[in-house]
C-alpha cells in the first residue's frame, strides 16, 4: 500500500480544479461558438425586420424583397436550378456508384480517382472552362459542331439555365456517388442472396432489394447536391447573368451593389436559410446520424454482378462523364492558360508561360490574394481543427455536461448558406466597435464558421478510432489527462487531425460565396480575383490562376492519400 500513500494535500487542489475548470471550459467554448454561429444569424434575423435607419420593426424589407416580380423570379429560377442539379447529379452519380461498387466493370480505380478530382474542382472553374468550350458562337465545341455539320446555330449554349444546370451537376454528382457507393458497399450480400433463393432474377433483385436499400443514401445525395446548387454563387454569376437571369445568390449579391440594401438582402436570404435548414433536417432523418462525411467505401462482400460485354459500355459511360467533368474543362483551362492571346487560335507560336508569370509576379492583386488565401486557409484550418478537436474530444469523452449543445452548435453552420452568413457578418463587423470589415479577418470568421461542421465531423470520426480505454489505461498507470492525451491520443489521433485540417484547408482555398460580399481591395482572395478577372474577360489570367489552384489542390490530395492512407477523400 505504500505506493498509494500519496499526500492528501494535493487532493483538494484537484477537486477545485475539476469544479472550476469544467464550467469555464464549457462557457468559453460556448461563447466562441455563439459568437461564430449564433451572432451572425441573430443579427441577420434582426436586420431583416429592421428599417435601415431608426427604431422599430418592419415588414417593409420583405415587401421590397418579395413584392416585386423581378425579385420573385430568381426564387423560381433557384428552385428549378437546384432541383434539376439534384436530379442530374443522381442520374450521373448513382449508376456510376453502382458500377464501381457492385459490378465487374474494369478501370474502377481510374473512375474513383477522377471522381475525386471532380469532387475537389470548384464549379466556378468548370464554368470558366465551359464558357471557353461551349460559348454559343466561339465555344470550341460549337465551332467544331458547325465545321462538321455545316449547321448555322450552336449545339449547346452554355449561357442558359440548361448550361448552368449541366456545369454545376458535373461537380456535384460526386456527392451522390460517395453516399450511394458507401451505402451499396455496406449492403450485406445475404440480403440479396436471400432474394435470389426466393426466386428473384438479377434485375428483380436490383429493383426490389438493392435499390430500395440504397434509396435513403441516394435521396440524401440528392438533397446535398440540391443544397450545393442552391447556395452556389460562382457558376451562376458566370453563366446566368450573361444569359440575363438571376438566381437567389446572385440577387443577394446584386442587393449589395450601390446603394447597398443590406436589410432587403437579409430578408431575401430567409427562404435560402429556411430551405437549407429544412432539407438538412430531412437528410439527417433519412440517413440516421451519418451526415455530410466522406465515408470510405469498404469492399462489398457480395460477388460483383457480371455485366458481360456491357461492362465496357459501363466503363465508356463513366469515362464519358469524367471527360465532360474533368478532361475537357482541364484541357480548356490549360489551353487558355498557355495561350498568348485568345483570338490567335491554335498554333505552337501561341503557346506561352507568360500568363503564369503575369499572375504570379506582375499583377499585384493576385500576389496579395495568393498570400491572403494561403494565410486564411492555414489559419482557418488550424484554428478550426484545434477548436473542433477539443470540442469533439470533450463531447465524445463526456467530460462536460452539455457537450452535446456544443456539438450541435458546431455542426449548425452546415445549414447556413455562405452568402447568407456573409450578410450577418457584414452587418456585425462593418462598423465599430468590432471593425473587421476591410481586413482578411472578417473573411477568416466566415471561413471558420462555414467549415466548423467539416472540422467537427472529421475530428469526431478520427477520435472514434481511438478507444477511450487506451487513454484510461495510461491514466490508471499514473499519467494525468494531458500526459495521456500527449502519449496516447495525439499519436493515434494525429493522422485523423491532419486529414481534418486538409478537409478545411482545401475548400478554404476556393471559397467564393462568402468571400464575394466580404472582400475589400485590401483583403482579396484567389477565388475573388479569379471572379473579377473573369468579369473583365481576361480568360488567360483566370485560367492560369485556376490551373495553379487546381494543381495545388490535387497535389495536396495526392500527398494526403499517399501518406495518410487511402482513406483520405477516398471515393
Amino acid at each position: 500500500m505504500s505506493s498509494a500513500a500519496t499526500g492528501t494535500a494535493s487532493r483538494g487542489g484537484t477537486a477545485r480544479e475539476r469544479l472550476d475548470a469544467a464550467p469555464a471550459v464549457w462557457l468559453l467554448s460556448a461563447a466562441i461558438l455563439a459568437v461564430l454561429v449564433v451572432a451572425p444569424l441573430a443579427i441577420l434575423l434582426v436586420t431583416a425586420v429592421r428599417a435601415p435607419e431608426g427604431p422599430g420593426f418592419t415588414v417593409a424589407n420583405f415587401l421590397e424583397a418579395f413584392g416585386q416580380a423581378i425579385y420573385r423570379g430568381p426564387v423560381g429560377n433557384s428552385l428549378v436550378y437546384a432541383i434539376s442539379v439534384g436530379v442530374l447529379s443522381v442520374v450521373l452519380g448513382a449508376p456510376m456508384a453502382w458500377l464501381v461498387t457492385r459490378t465487374d466493370m474494369p478501370g474502377k480505380a481510374v473512375v474513383r480517382t477522377f471522381t475525386t478530382a471532380a469532387f475537389v474542382t470548384p464549379s466556378f472553374l468548370g464554368a470558366t472552362a465551359y464558357v471557353i468550350l461551349a460559348g454559343p458562337n466561339a465555344g470550341l465545341i460549337n465551332v467544331l459542331y458547325r465545321a462538321v455539320t455545316g449547321a448555322e446555330g450552336a449545339l449547346f449554349n452554355i449561357f442558359s439555365m440548361a448550361g448552368l444546370i449541366y456545369v454545376t451537376s458535373l461537380y456535384t454528382f460526386p456527392v451522390v456517388f460517395i453516399l450511394t457507393s458507401a451505402a451499396l458497399s455496406a449492403t450485406p450480400a445475404d440480403l440479396e442472396e436471400a432474394a435470389r433463393i426466393a426466386g428473384a432474377g438479377r434485375l428483380a433483385v436490383m429493383r426490389t432489394i438493392t435499390l430500395p436499400l440504397a434509396l435513403p443514401a441516394i435521396f440524401g445525395g440528392f438533397i446535398l447536391a440540391f443544397l450545393e446548387a442552391l447556395v452556389l454563387f460562382g457558376a451562376p454569376a458566370m453563366l446566368a447573368i450573361p444569359a440575363r437571369f438571376h438566381v437567389m445568390t446572385t440577387q443577394v449579391w446584386a442587393f449589395f451593389q450601390y446603394p447597398p440594401q443590406v436589410e432587403v438582402a437579409a430578408a431575401y436570404a430567409m427562404p435560402l436559410l429556411l430551405i437549407a435548414v429544412g432539407l438538412l433536417w430531412a437528410q439527417r432523418r433519412l440517413m440516421g446520424r451519418r451526415g455530410y462525411t466522406t465515408v470510405g467505401g469498404r469492399a462489398s462482400a457480395a460477388p460483383p454482378v457480371r455485366l458481360g460485354p456491357w461492362r465496357w459500355a459501363g466503363l465508356a459511360a463513366c469515362v464519358g462523364v469524367l471527360l465532360l467533368s474533368i478532361g475537357l474543362p482541364y484541357f480548356a483551362l490549360l489551353r487558355a492558360a498557355l495561350a498568348k492571346a485568345w483570338g490567335l487560335g491554335w498554333s505552337w507560336q501561341n503557346l506561352t508561360l507568360r500568363n503564369f508569370h503575369y499572375v504570379l509576379f506582375e499583377f499585384d492583386p493576385t500576389r496579395s490574394a495568393i498570400v491572403n488565401t494561403l494565410e486564411l486557409a492555414t489559419v482557418t484550418a488550424t484554428l478550426a481543427v484545434f477548436l473542433m478537436g477539443a470540442i469533439a474530444y470533450v463531447a465524445q469523452r463526456r467530460l462536460l455536461r452539455g457537450a452535446r449543445v456544443l456539438a450541435f452548435l458546431a455542426t449548425a453552420p452546415l445549414a447556413i448558406p455562405g452568402i447568407v452568413l456573409s450578410i450577418g457578418l457584414f452587418k456585425a463587423y462593418s462598423r465599430p466597435p468590432l471593425l473587421l470589415y476591410g481586413t482578411i479577418w472578417i473573411i477568416f470568421v466566415a471561413y471558420l464558421t462555414k467549415y466548423l461542421p467539416i472540422a467537427y465531423t472529421a475530428c469526431h470520426a478520427a477520435l472514434q478510432t481511438v478507444h477511450v480505454d487506451l487513454e484510461d489505461a495510461a491514466r490508471v498507470l499514473g499519467a494525468n489527462r494531458l500526459v495521456a492525451f500527449k502519449d496516447v491520443t495525439v499519436p493515434l489521433f494525429g493522422a485523423g487531425l491532419i486529414s481534418a485540417w486538409l478537409l478545411v484547408f482545401l475548400p478554404s482555398l476556393r471559397e467564393l460565396s462568402s468571400s464575394i460580399l466580404l472582400f475589400t481591395t485590401r483583403s482579396r482572395v484567389v477565388s475573388v480575383v479569379i471572379y473579377t478577372l473573369y468579369e473583365e474577360g481576361l480568360w488567360e489570367a483566370v485560367s492560369a490562376l485556376g490551373i495553379l489552384l487546381l494543381g495545388l489542390t490535387l497535389l495536396l490530395v495526392a500527398v494526403a492519400q499517399r501518406f495518410l492512407g487511402r482513406r483520405f477523400l477516398q471515393i
Binding site: M1, S3, A4, R11, A473, V476, A479, N480, V488
Partner: protein, 365 residues
C-alpha cells in the same frame, strides 16, 4: 483489514436512473474479489468509481485510511496507485510491448536502471519472454491480453482492477486465462477487483464474489457460500441452475409452496409463520430413483431432515456426463428439475421417488 472500502456509493447517469445505489463492500487486503452480475447491474460503474474515472453522487471510497472518492472530491485515476485491465485490452498500437509494459514505471518513480529487470520479470510472469520488441499488431488476442496484464502488474499496484478482461477471447483461451489469472494472483498477492458476468470465471478466479443486481449488492461470500447458501432468489438463480419455489412459512421449518408442494427446510427457524419466502433447491441435490418412494407424497418421511415425494418423469435429457430430468410431483402442480447419473437412465412416464435433504432446501429472500 479492509484494503478498500466502498461506502454507500451511489452513482446516477441522467436524472433518475441510478447505475449504482447505496453500495457498500469491503475489499480485503490481498484478496481477489469478483463483482459478478448481469449486464447493467452496475459492476463496471463500480469498478470505474474505484478507478476514479467516475465521481460518486453519494458515498465514499477509502483506500486504507485515505479517502479516494467523495462527491465533489475525487482523487484522479493517476494518483490512486492502481492498475487496470480493460475489456478491449487497451494495448497502445503505436508502442512496442516493452514500451507498453514499462509505461507506468516513469510515473511511479522507478529508477531507470531497474526497468530492464522489472520488464523481464513482468514478461516472465505472463509468459511473454522474447516479445519485448514486437508491436501489438503482431500479437494474437491472448498475447495482447498478457501484455496488458504485464503492464498492469509491473507497477506493483495497490489495487488491480480487471474489467471483463476475458470477454474478447475465444472460449478455449478464456478457460485457460482463468487459471492464468488465478495463478498470477497467487504469485503476486495483489488486491484485485475483477468484474465479470460469467459465474464460472468468478468461481475459478475469486477468493470472494460480490453478486450484484440492479445497482446493489445481493450477497458477498466465497464461491462456495454464494453457491451453496445463496442469500437471495436472484443469487440462487444467477449462479448455477436451481429450482425456485415461492411460498409461505406454515410452521417452523416448513414451507407451503405455490402449486401445493410442502418443503421441509433447515433454516426456517428465523421466520415466523405467514412470512412470504422462496426456497432454492439445486437440481443435483435432488435424488431421483426408480420405484415408489416411501412416506406420504409431499410429506417428509421421518420428520428429521429429508423431503420425500413420489413423482413422474415428464422429460429426460441426455447431457453425456449427466441426465437432466423434469419430474412432476404427484398430488401437486409443482415440477422439479433434477440431475441424475447417466446410468441407470429413467424413462419419460416412469414413476419415481424423489428425495431432498432438508439442509439443501435453502430459504432465500
Amino acid at each position: 483489514m479492509a484494503a478498500v472500502r466502498l461506502q454507500a456509493l451511489t452513482k446516477r447517469f441522467g436524472e433518475d436512473v441510478a447505475a449504482v445505489h447505496d453500495l457498500t463492500i469491503d475489499i480485503r487486503h490481498g484478496e481477489l474479489l469478483s463483482l459478478l452480475g448481469p449486464s447493467g447491474c452496475g459492476k463496471t460503474t463500480t469498478l470505474r468509481l474505484i478507478a476514479g474515472f467516475l465521481a460518486p453522487d453519494a458515498g465514499e471510497i477509502w483506500l486504507g485510511d485515505r479517502r479516494l472518492s467523495a462527491p465533489h472530491e475525487t482523487v484522479p485515476p493517476e494518483r490512486r496507485g492502481m492498475s487496470m485491465l480493460f475489456q478491449s485490452y487497451a494495448v497502445w498500437p503505436h508502442k512496442t510491448v516493452a514500451e507498453n509494459v514499462t509505461y507506468g514505471l516513469k510515473f511511479r518513480s522507478v529508477p531507470r536502471v531497474d526497468w530492464p529487470r522489472r520488464l523481464r520479470d513482468a514478461l516472465a510472469l505472463v509468459r511473454l519472454e522474447g516479445f519485448a520488441d514486437r508491436y501489438p499488431g503482431e500479437l494474437s488476442g491472448g498475447q495482447q491480453q498478457r501484455v496488458a496484464l504485464a503492464r498492469a502488474l509491473i507497477v506493483e499496484p495497490a489495487i488491480l482492477l480487471l474489467d471483463e478482461p476475458l470477454s474478447n477471447l475465444d472460449a478455449h483461451l478464456r478457460e485457460e486465462m482463468r487459471f492464468e489469472i488465478r495463478r498470477v494472483h497467487e504469485a503476486s498477492q495483489i488486491t484485485t477487483v475483477y468484474v465479470t458476468h460469467d459465474q464460472a470465471e468468478a468461481m475459478v478466479t475469486s477468493d470472494r464474489i460480490a453478486v450484484m443486481n440492479a445497482g446493489g449488492v445481493e450477497q458477498v461470500g466465497t464461491p462456495a457460500e454464494v453457491y451453496e447458501r445463496p442469500a437471495t432468489a436472484f443469487v440462487a438463480g444467477f449462479i448455477g441452475r436451481t429450482n425456485l419455489f415461492k411460498g409461505r412459512i406454515v410452521a417452523d421449518g416448513r414451507v407451503a409452496c405455490e402449486g401445493g408442494l410442502v418443503l421441509l427446510t433447515a433454516t426456517a427457524g428465523e421466520h415466523t409463520p405467514g412470512d412470504a419466502v422462496a426456497v432454492s433447491v439445486r437440481p443435483h441435490m435432488v435424488t431421483v430413483s426408480s420405484g415408489a418412494a416411501t412416506g406420504a407424497p409431499g410429506e417428509p418421511a421421518d420428520g428429521a431432515a429429508l423431503n420425500v415425494f413420489a413423482g413422474t418423469v415428464t422429460r429426460a435429457s441426455y447431457f453425456g456426463d449427466a441426465m437432466d430430468y423434469l419430474v412432476a410431483i404427484t398430488g401437486t402442480q409443482s415440477t422439479l428439475r433434477a440431475t441424475g447419473v447417466p446410468e441407470p437412465r429413467l424413462a419419460v412416464g416412469q414413476s419415481v421417488g424423489v428425495r431432498i435433504a432438508a439442509r439443501h432446501c435453502i430459504l432465500v429472500r
